[in-house]
Symmetry: C2
Subunit: 169 residues, 2 copies
DNA sequence: TATTGTTATACTCTATAACTATA
DNA sequence: TATAGTTATAGAGTATAACAATA
């Protein structure tokens, strides 16, 4: 992949330019920087609800299909089962979900949203939308669509929901 | 900012859609996800050199203007002075930079690259370029420029070099 | 009295592996 | 013997604050 005409153009542009105190014109750098800022902000956005972004994501998954086991969700989110415990503990303390026994296998805990869980999840979704709008204030709607399309063209395996990063999910 | 025509369009599109196991069409989500993946990969890319991304960034700053004090660079990178110590320690152990006494103020240590430091920084820059090219394999050069322009249109204060995030710098 | 660099400490987050109860 | 969930523990990474030398 190195040495193609396209590569040499990138090399000419320079990812680490002579002016070092400014952000380089590098997709990798901008993504890292913007991605971190965006998740930090989203963290603050959810704080009033007492939720962490990764808990919001978990609510989203449960809401999509209630009754799945902790392990099923853990593997879906690519977190170790031991970590899932604290996650579910917290959401249960908040009264947003409940562990129900599985009649067929007494080892598993099926996760279900409570009524309050559905309400809070709805609120969080609204906050996420507002967050998105603030983030994209400098873009027209066309540009926003364009940006999303371009981001999707980057290696798709990077975007997969599994292995969601610590700051977000 | 909520309630404008643009906002309602975003709301219609839906950031948290009914299909929950797929990545939503949300700039915030994609940035978080891609940013995290990109920095994780960059971490691996630099490993053969024994460098952490944030050390690479530090080298970049020193290379831009040698002789600055640790505190000056610490405030530039928005890391606490205490953290800068370990950073500089490691780079000094690797023989990439040296602390020189400041003749005018015996408290300060002026940071300079060694010859080896310049060499390794050059290698790291090359690796960073290859990383960028791999990342953008799915984009034409025009699309890559377009993407960078769009990213720059997002709130610029998010991109500033200060407060570089843990995974990157 | 303030500042540079340093050290000590404590806190958060995380994964690994041991453990239990079921299967 | 294997699996779901849990607990214990240890490691990495971080910030805060105390400290010594110098200004």
């Amino acid at each position: 992949m190195a040495g193609t005409p396209k590569d040499s153009r990138v090399l000419e542009k320079g990812v680490a330019p002579a002016a070092p105190d400014r952000a380089p014109r590098s997709v990798g750098f901008l993504l890292s920087q913007l991605g971190f800022s965006a998740s930090q902000r989203f963290l603050e956005v959810l704080k009033p609800l007492g939720l962490h972004p990764r808990e919001f994501l978990l609510l989203r998954f449960i809401s999509a299909a209630e009754g799945r086991s902790q392990q099923a969700l853990a593997s879906l989110l690519a977190v170790p089962p031991s970590r899932m415990v604290a996650l579910v503990d917290h959401l249960e303390e908040l009264g947003l979900l409940e562990r129900r026994p599985d009649p067929h296998d007494r080892r598993v805990r099926a996760l279900h949203l409570t009524e309050r869980g559905r309400t809070v999840y709805g609120r969080a979704t609204k906050l996420a939308l507002e967050h998105e709008q603030r983030l994209c204030l400098g873009l027209s709607e066309t540009e926003r669509e364009q940006l999303i399309d371009l981001l999707h063209k980057l290696q798709p395996e990077l975007i997969e929901l599994r292995g969601v990063h610590p700051g977000l999910g």
